[in-house]
């Protein structure tokens, strides 16, 4: 279970101003909000890539704030993360990228690692790409490899940072389906940060809207499209605030 309590973070200007929410085990949650609103920063706090100015992040009851890099290593073994740009290691092949965490564990022989890598690549429909380099892959394929790398060691929680950003609608749809398929097959907790409402409504059981550094609204995907709150309404329907027009 993930619990965030009154999280504050400032990066020259306040980004998170008292974020509080809870995500249950096995739940699938999308955090939506405007670009530059602090969604990715919030996601990085969940896995300890960033430390808050104040507040707490509890993973299965354990507070991970204030822990140093080495103390966080065992906590991070519970997580898998898909980055916005996939963040594949460009000096490695696809198989080496996907098998990275397994090689680090030192409890698998090469044949077992190879088998698990092939299974993970099969799960994301990329069987047979083991020997390719990340530079040879398209954006969608890179995200799939990133997803295979995030799930190959069977984490309990998978975090997605803008999983469909920069992809065409068809590839974005396939990524959404993959996220749902991975969640159902592996029974994992899913947290996705996105501003793609279509994607959020598909993959999430619950949607949290981050606005001006706080959780402004929390509801199911069905409810959000019927919501009359002006901030939520404008975001869901893609209507800009007239005060922001600078013509």
């Amino acid at each position: 279970m993930i619990e965030v309590r009154d999280l504050f973070k400032s990066l020259g200007h306040p980004v998170l101003k008292g974020v509080t929410f809870q995500i249950d085990k096995g739940e699938s949650v999308a955090i939506i909000g405007r670009s530059g609103g602090g969604k990715s920063i919030l996601l990085k706090h969940l896995i300890g890539l960033m430390q808050p100015d104040s507040g707490a992040v509890l993973i299965d009851g354990q507070d991970i704030t204030g822990k140093n890099e080495r103390q966080l290593l065992p906590v991070r073994q519970k997580f898998g993360m898909l980055f916005q740009g996939a963040a594949l290691f460009d000096s490695m092949t696809v198989a080496e990228n996907v098998g990275f965490a397994l090689r680090r564990e030192r409890k698998w022989i090469p044949a077992e690692i190879s088998q698990k890598v092939s299974e993970a690549l099969g799960l994301v429909d990329l069987a047979g790409t083991e020997n390719k380099k990340p530079a040879e892959l398209s954006g969608g394929m890179r995200k799939r490899v990133g997803l295979a790398r995030a799930i190959v060691y069977r984490p309990e929680i998978v975090l997605y940072d803008e999983p469909t950003t920069g992809l065409d609608p068809i590839v974005a749809d396939s990524i959404d389906r993959l996220i749902i398929s991975v969640r159902e097959r592996l029974k994992i907790t899913t947290v996705a940060v996105t501003h793609d409402m279509r994607s959020a409504s598909r993959i999430a059981q619950r949607i949290l809207m981050l606005h001006e550094g706080r959780i402004h609204f929390a509801c199911t995907p069905e409810e959000i499209f019927k919501c009359n709150d002006p901030v939520v309404y404008r975001f869901v329907n893609g209507i800009s605030d007239p005060r922001e027009h600078s013509f």
Partner: protein, 258 residues
């Protein structure tokens, strides 16, 4: 003006403190964590083998220039046969380690900072952390170990080639007697001179790797950030080598080998 100076000093001290903390983290990691052998071998290849041409050219031409200049002065007072001894002592204790260090700082320091900086801006370092790999264990330790192993070896090579090139110049072009030249070189070059050079190279290797890795790991966003990190890695490594060379020379001559 005062504000700018204070800010510059504060940033410099902060950087120095962070490099020291990185050094402490690396030292802890070397003794506590299993070193990634494959990474270490690759870095040894990249830093050691791939720097051969640079080191050979630097050593050979420095040795020959040193020999020629020394000969032109010594010839006036008829002590030509001491030429190679001067070349040998200078190459072993000063020119070998410093020039090899500067060349490796340029080639390897830039590459390390650019590689780690690019990894940082493309979130590959964050990806490493999410995969429960400590960036210091996985990235910095192999690079630092490879540099402190390779640089003394490269320096030894540079010293040898410099002396050999100086000898060839002295005997083939400057007409100095080969037997006396060799005899004087052996007579006036102490083991301590070579030990001093290799000790310096070991320390410069640690400086180059720590400064370059630090600059890469703390690089700012974008291509400009990577470019700046790369430049700063080379400049700071080179300046550190030149300044510490003075203090090391005093310390090693006065304290270790008086």
């Amino acid at each position: 003006m005062n504000g700018f100076a204070f800010r510059w000093i504060a940033e410099w001290l902060q950087g120095l403190g962070q490099i020291t903390l990185l050094g402490k983290e690396v030292a802890g990691s070397i003794f506590a964590v299993r070193i990634p052998g494959r990474q270490l071998l690759y870095q040894l290849y990249f830093i050691g083998v791939k720097s051969q041409s640079v080191v050979v050219i630097t050593g050979a031409f420095t040795g020959m220039v040193m020999a020629a200049q020394t000969y032109f002065q010594f010839h006036k007072v008829h002590i030509d046969t001491a030429t190679l001894a001067v070349v040998s002592v200078s190459m072993a204790s000063e020119l070998g380690p410093v020039l090899t260090g500067l060349m490796v700082a340029g080639r390897v320091g830039a590459a390390l900072a650019a590689e780690l900086g690019t990894m940082r801006v493309t979130e590959q370092i964050d990806a490493l952390r999410t995969l429960a790999a400590h960036p210091v264990d996985y990235l910095v330790v192999p690079r630092l170990l490879a540099t402190i192993i390779a640089l003394p070896l490269l320096t030894g090579e540079s010293i040898s080639i410099g002396i050999a090139a100086g000898y060839a110049l002295c005997t083939n072009f400057l007409g100095i007697n080969p037997a006396y030249t060799w005899h004087n070189m052996i007579k006036y070059t102490d083991v301590q001179n070579v030990e001093m050079g290799l000790t310096k190279a070991f320390i410069y290797g640690a400086f180059i790797a720590l400064i370059s890795c630090y600059k890469g790991l703390t690089c700012r966003e974008g291509a400009e950030g990577v470019g700046r990190a790369t430049t700063e890695a080379v400049v700071y490594s080179s300046i550190t080598i030149l300044i510490t060379n003075f203090f090391l020379t005093l310390f090693l001559n006065r304290v270790l080998w008086p």
